[in-house]
């Protein structure tokens, strides 16, 4: 399978100041194997688009701790105390967006749409400096689409063409991020033969997926553990 790579083989894809779209909600649906390799890679100063910066000292949290994140765009950073501290010291730039606005901006980015008008956040602090337009009597806020250089996503299974299916709520931001970046790396739990996934169940068609990495993590109870 040509798309199948080890995470180390993918290091040349990572360049300084790239914008990374990183899937996951908390730790659910997070590409842990790929993220945990980033502290060891040369590149850094990333602008990261993700709902939050990892959880439980895992995922993006490790990338942040390694000093590789210059800016974060997401919806919920309050639980990440170190990120809040770094932000107040001016060491980390944060762009806060409502979660639905974040998701829709990425969807638009991947669908060839330049931006959209949403009723969310009109009249709030998060609307400051943004265009407001009334359409049929309702006030909407203009939000630009979001695209990335690299998307790091997590799926349950890939077939050998790169078609993806997801596990339960681990789907979250992953399918939209797969559409919105120049290059897409999908970490998966399992790789199956072409034909084993029913066309009806495929959520992300293979043309969106450039590389597939087999996850080093397995679920054990309510945690992820690394296996060799």
């Amino acid at each position: 399978m040509e798309k199948l790579k080890t995470v180390d083989e993918l290091e040349p894809l990572f360049k300084d100041r790239m914008r990374l779209l990183v899937g996951g909600f908390g730790i659910s649906g997070t590409p842990l194997t790929v993220l945990h390799a980033l502290p060891g890679f040369k590149a850094g100063d990333y602008e990261v688009v993700s709902n939050n910066l990892g959880d439980y000292g895992k995922g993006l949290h490790k990338v942040f701790e390694a000093g590789k994140i210059a800016k974060a765009i997401g919806s919920f950073f309050t639980i990440n105390k170190e990120a809040v501290t770094a932000w107040s010291k001016g060491e980390l730039a944060i762009d806060l967006l409502p979660q639905g606005t974040l998701a829709e901006a990425i969807r638009c980015g991947g669908a060839g749409i330049g931006g959209f008008y949403t009723p969310t956040a009109v009249g709030t602090k998060l609307a400051e400096g943004k265009e407001v337009r009334e359409i049929d009597g309702v006030r909407y806020l203009f939000e630009k689409a979001i695209k990335g250089d690299l998307a790091l996503i997590k799926a349950a299974k890939a077939d050998k063409a790169g078609n993806l299916i997801y596990h339960t709520t681990a789907r979250n931001f992953n399918p939209v991020m797969a559409t919105a970046a120049a290059t897409v790396i999908a970490e998966v739990d399992e790789i199956v033969e072409i034909g084993e996934l029913r066309p009806e169940e495929i959520i992300t068609p293979h043309i969106y997926v450039d590389y597939v990495v087999k996850s080093k993590y397995v679920k054990k109870g309510d945690d992820y553990v690394e296996v060799n």
Binding site: F25, G26, I27, S28, G29, N51, D55, S75, F76, F77, T78, I79, A83, V84, W87, S88, I94, L96, L97, P98, Q99, G100, T101, L102, A103, E104, I106, R107, T118, P119, T120, A121, V122, G123, T124, K125, L126, R139, Y166, H167, T168, T169, A170, R171, N172, F173, N174, P175, V176, I203, K219, G221, D222, D223, Y224
Partner: protein, 210 residues
């Protein structure tokens, strides 16, 4: 057994839900509403991509990937479905969710709420709060009526950051349930141990009894 304040609020909100409603429950008191739904058939939505949250899972059924928006493990109903985050917020913003139950820090006399920024802390988290305020067909906010230092959360005008222009439909507290109309606050249902006059006195704003 006497219910806690939080349970009184949750139970009162459960009364508002109807058979067939799709409902999004926020974190905190709103999550407790699920305990009091009883025989009513409601479809619980979680904005991270699930319609059809089931009862709390047993220890041996925990799946770290299967969580609600508060990142707690959940189970699913037989009629449940999964979808991605963009689809999920389309469901919310597109008025397909009948009721959103949200926590709040303040409610003004028009029904505008502040429920996302924490006082004296940098504002670095909003999550799905503003999308739910803007998009659910009906918004019910749940909170104790007074802060820890005794000041009312029902206020003349918000002192904390607004969650959006959309006015909420109902504010349910441990003492009473309130609705709003053109700046008038209606105490629709008083069930706690304070009278209408006592409530009006402690809140410091004119109330109307329905």
């Amino acid at each position: 057994m006497k219910l806690t304040k939080r349970d009184v609020i949750a139970k009162r909100i459960a009364q508002e839900l109807k058979d067939g409603d799709s409902v999004n429950l926020g974190v905190g008191i709103p999550t407790l509403v699920a305990k009091y739904i009883g025989d009513k058939k409601v479809y619980l939505q979680s904005e991270n991509g699930l319609l059809g949250i089931g009862p709390p899972p047993n220890e041996d059924e925990l799946d770290i990937d299967l969580i609600d928006a508060g990142k707690n493990p959940v189970s699913i109903m037989p009629d449940a479905s999964y979808f991605d985050s963009a689809f999920s917020f389309g469901m919310i913003r597109g008025h397909h969710i009948d009721v959103a139950v949200l926590g709040t820090l303040e409610v003004d006399r028009y029904g505008e709420i502040a429920n996302w920024s924490v006082p004296n802390q940098p504002i670095l988290g909003v999550g799905g709060a503003m999308d739910l305020v803007a998009g659910a067909k009906k918004v019910i906010v749940a909170s104790t009526l007074f802060t820890k230092d005794g000041s009312p959360k029902l206020v003349e005008s918000l002192t904390l950051d607004s969650s959006g222009e959309r006015l909420v439909n109902q504010f349910v507290t441990e003492y009473a349930s309130f609705t709003f109309e053109d700046g008038k606050i209606f105490a629709d249902d008083i069930y706690g141990d304070m009278t209408f006059e006592e409530l009006q006195d402690k809140i410091g704003l004119p109330l109307t009894q329905k």
